[in-house]
Amino acid sequence: MSAQATPDPMPVAPSDALDGIAHAAPAHDFLRRALRHRSFAAGLGICLIITLILVAAPLLAHLNPDAQDPLATFAPPSAAHLMGTDEFGRDMFARVVVGGRTTVLACLGVVVLGGVVGSTIGLIAGFFGGALGFAIMRMVDLLLAFPGILLALAVSAILGPGLVNGVIAIAAILVPVYARLVEGAAVEVRHLPYVDAATTLGASSRWIILRHVLPNVSPGIIVLTTTWLGIAALWIAALGFIGLGVQPPTPEWGAILSDGQNYITIAWWITVFPGMFLALFVVGVNLIGDGLRDELDPTLSRR
């Protein structure tokens, strides 16, 4: 192509040109900086330990959360039952671990579903603006005006109880939250000179949104996601607690807490262990969120 005959001093690797796209800032640099942030490191540690327990425990020992032992009901924590047993003599360790998988996966599902739908709506409204954007954002305002738990209850009352429906119900709370945040950021980015420049070069709207607007908006999305991951865990548990989430006998932290509250005076371990795990998980996720916010959006942390 080029007419020059001199050998290139630097060999040009063709794949580099496109690889460079993803590596706006080298990922390991970012991780090193983030790890120096104490609350991020602490949060990451907590979440890794919980994840390790939830993933590894069933691999190391056979855990059956449904196996009943009528001879060992309400057994306190011991070597045989690390976290004791419940009113049916089910092993609480097995229930907390297996139930934790359900809770954590469900709240991940919530933020992914709510985040993707909400961000898409926000990007469309913010980028195109006009009557369409106005209409979308007024609907978002309407949803935001509902108290979140009321919205979730209404949705799960319509869809019926169950884990998947519970995830959808809580994702419905997140959709307007994401849409509002992303719309605001997208409006800001919409008329940056380089976005206009891409338009004049003949790029399509979809391309511009994905290549130029989304990366600009993504720090906000990431921070919002970590914040809401913790809240979603609490809400999944809350739905389980009031019986609209996971149905018995499937274990889930919120549902276990709900069962255990009847026996809290005689068997504290039924509520304390799942409650502790839930609290630790929420704290860990929030600490990660704090760290990420400080690193990704320095303007927010200086208050």
Binding site: M1, M10, G202
Partner: protein, 327 residues
């Protein structure tokens, strides 16, 4: 203008671009017409608010509500592109007509390498393999005078100076060898020494890739450097058109005279620099007739009505009652 061949590359016909605003309609572009032949160069000169940038955005199909092209045609290669839908105009933007913005510091996305961004411009209109796109990008960067392009292609915009970035912008604009290059104040944001370099580069590139140039500027000196023809705009209208030498040596319209008299380079040392008295009229309340009337030293009663294009006798066009009507 009469010298233009039968088929101009770009013909703007009686273009009206208006903006709905609180309290009325701003007639940013109010009935302008000009031709641009293939490979030719035309400068549009005017103050802020004269409608020159809106003209370029109208040609590119980038007018967004509350703005609207309310009348007129933009004929590009014999086809009216003012009424095209988004998909059709997109095939023209960046491929046949390119626009280079004023400020190179913000017109590149800081999170992608310059190479990535030039490749994007290429791939928006051509199916190229990654290897071919990269090679083409390196040769484009070399063409716009970026040293060691094999290395700079992998650098981020923040590592480049304003002049370098404007060169990258030119490389992106020329990536698909457009027939028309619109430069909107290409040197305003640059240092004086860099301005001269970029103007030299544009002149050189014009000959190499044979693209027509439409230059939008407030600086008639830049037009003298780069263009053969000039259009002088004021208040959304054309005041005067002609060849650059005609217009600068022998301005006919009182506005053009006043504009030239306020150029520092034309004033002898020690002499007071002229300014044009008054201010650009409120765009919501343009005076009827000639928009320059309130500031014009030679205004008279006839100026309250639109003079229309007039021929001062040497083939150019002047919109002023001081000259005979064109036959």
């Amino acid at each position: 203008m009469s010298a233009a061949p039968a088929e101009p590359l770009l013909r703007v016909e009686d273009l009206h671009t208006h903006f709905r605003a609180r309290g009325g309609v701003v007639k940013a572009v109010n009935g302008i017409s000009f031709d641009l032949a293939p490979g030719a160069s035309l400068g549009i000169v005017g103050e802020s608010g004269s409608g020159k940038s809106v003209t370029s955005l109208s040609i590119m199909g980038l007018i967004e509500p509350p703005g609207q092209i309310v009348a007129g045609r933009v004929m590009f290669r014999g086809r009216d592109i003012a009424g095209l839908d988004e998909r059709q105009i997109r095939a023209i933007r960046g491929r046949h007509i390119c626009l280079v913005f004023q400020d190179p510091m913000t017109a590149l996305n800081p999170v992608y390498t310059v190479g990535t961004q030039v490749i994007e411009a290429l791939r928006a209109h051509q199916a190229l393999s990654a290897q071919a796109a990269l090679e083409r990008t390196v040769s484009l960067l070399r063409m716009v005078g970026i040293p060691s392009p094999e290395r700079r292609v992998h650098e981020y915009p923040h590592r480049m100076s304003g002049g370098m970035r404007q060169r990258v912008m030119l490389a992106m604009a020329l990536a698909n060898e457009p027939e028309l290059l619109i430069l909107d104040e290409p040197t305003t944001a640059l240092d004086v020494t860099i301005q001269a370099q970029i103007l030299d580069l544009v002149r050189d590139l014009r000959q190499r890739v044979n693209t027509a140039v439409l230059l939008i500027t407030h600086d008639i000196g830049v037009v003298q450097e780069l263009c053969e023809q000039v259009v002088v705009m004021y208040g959304g209208r054309i005041m005067e058109t002609g060849s650059v030498t005609q217009v600068t040596d022998e301005p006919k319209h009182p506005y053009t005279r006043a504009l030239l008299a306020s150029m520092p380079s034309r004033v002898r040392r020690g002499q007071r620099l002229n300014t044009i008295g008054g201010a650009v009229p409120n765009p919501l309340h343009m005076p009827p007739g000639c928009p320059f009337r309130p500031r014009c030293p030679q205004a008279h009663d006839a100026c309250a009505t639109d003079p229309g294009p007039r021929d001062p006798g040497d083939g150019r066009m002047v919109a002023c009652w001081l000259y005979e009507a064109r036959r």
